[in-house]
Symmetry: C2
Subunit: 294 residues, 2 copies
């Protein structure tokens, strides 16, 4: 295993341990089981790892940044549960397992999603009381809520649902992808930067890096949906096509989509090389995100 893979493995384990401690110990079993099921369904933990990698890149050592990382994964997991609901994407499979509502019923799935979203902000509240700078925590709360809200992730999901069966332009597609996936990925980097006391100049560089890899990540996601086998992907493939959902390969063509992902990746790398500290980790992560197979 190379150095980066060791790092990712290590961080993923730490995130998984920390997430376990976030889950509530009390309250009705049904909804807590549903929360745990989806949270422990084996995600890549990309968002929290991005946050931790930014802190490590900036040589910030305080462990409290893990709270910020966990809040992002809680929000990401809630969004997957709600996106999979029958009224939304109506998905039966996620990460190779039956979706939350298939196992726990629709009511518990809605409530488990609500609870994970709420928990994210409880975790941030606790972070604010423990991290030594409540002001920093409030900035992060604001940033994360905005990224998850109507001008970010939720807005993107609305556009995604509305795009079914329609022809949309490449710029509409870009807006949708920036909101639906990009906003929370960017927040993962931006909140890591705030938590790790980045300078304004560093924040700007990291923000541009994050925007580029966020879009590149979505393009690759679309390409995998377009090309992979179900076994490789852990969820039904071609589901966009089946639902007549426009995505990068369908709007730009697969070849041009791949080129654009590559271009954004290179742009992100160039950007992050401007940092006044060693960017190897963030370069490696970007490379992983663009060259992944699932």
């Amino acid at each position: 295993m190379n150095e980066l893979d060791c790092y990712l493995d290590d961080k993923r384990n730490l995130v998984n341990q920390a997430l376990k401690t976030c889950l509530p110990q009390k309250g009705p079993t049904a909804v807590r089981e549903a929360m745990r099921y989806s949270l422990e369904a084996g995600g890549k933990r990309l968002r929290p790892i991005l946050t931790l990698a930014v802190a490590d890149t900036l040589n910030y050592k305080d462990n409290s940044v893990m709270d910020v990382a966990c809040a992002l994964e809680l929000i990401h997991t809630y969004s997957l549960i709600h996106d999979d609901l029958p009224a939304m994407d109506n998905s039966d499979l996620r990460r190779g397992k039956p979706t939350c509502h298939k196992v726990f019923g629709e009511a518990n799935a809605v409530l488990a999603g609500d609870a994970l979203l709420t928990l994210a902000f409880e975790v941030l509240g606790r972070y604010g009381l423990n991290c030594g700078s409540a002001k920093k925590a409030m900035q992060i709360t604001c940033e994360m809520a905005k990224a998850a809200g109507v001008t970010g992730m939720i807005g993107g999901q609305v556009l995604d649902l509305e795009s079914e069966g329609k022809n949309i332009s490449s710029s509409e597609l870009e807006t949708m992808s920036r909101m639906k996936t990009g906003a929370l990925l960017k927040a993962s980097v931006d909140c890591g930067a705030v938590a790790a006391d980045a300078t304004e100049a560093q924040k700007e560089i990291l923000g541009e890096y994050a925007a580029d890899i966020g879009t590149a990540f979505q393009i690759v996601d679309d390409l995998l949906d377009y090309e992979s086998s179900e076994e490789e992907l852990g969820k039904p493939v071609g589901s966009d096509r089946e639902r007549f959902k426009p995505n990068y390969p369908s709007v730009l063509g697969p070849e041009k989509a791949r080129q654009q992902a590559q271009m954004l990746y290179e742009q992100a790398i160039n950007k992050v090389n401007e940092l006044n500290c060693s960017p190897g980790l963030l370069v490696g992560l970007a490379e992983k995100m663009v060259n992944r197979k699932k």
Copy 2:
């Protein structure tokens, strides 16, 4: 109009104005319309008014407490939208109008609820950056998230759904009601107290007051469902009975339920009279909550 009614009217107008400014100006129209529809469907604004009344009782003059009040109403409204969903209570009518999913479709209703919940924490984040004490804001964030989460409102909704068609004991009913309705009402008072720089002694008194009026409020709610006409209530009556949902009149009998509400009301009044400042407003509010007709 008596003095209390004038106060309530005045605060309700201020809350309504403030809520309008909370709503996002950007993002897809469908979800923003759904958010506005439910937020402006004519609620009593009980939770934000409780928060403001606590601040007024403690003679706290800073306007920033309105942000805290708005966050509570945003959370309350989201919970109504999700509770009404077909997978939950499957309600067609709320406050005399078709429910959110009836007008905007189920997907937009789920997302509008998610967005209102998320917005509540964005508003709290902004409050923290503006109120002069980010630490206070983090305490409020923690408190509100806990009240809205699995050990509070969401947990209560799970128990409520699970209780359908079952016989439950009066102590189980009390737990359910304390979580489902009581927790956010109590948070409205508790967060008002934190925002208004209450002393520890004041917080304790206000907390006990809030717990009592919270339960009394739920008992009255159940009695209204049991006794009122649809026209008076603005939603279908007897809906608990129709769904075989246990509630205070069905578990205790209507007479004993009424007595218990009265007892809790008197206990709350006695408590709040221990405050070292004039409690007239909170006494009046408690009286309103117990003697309301809808």
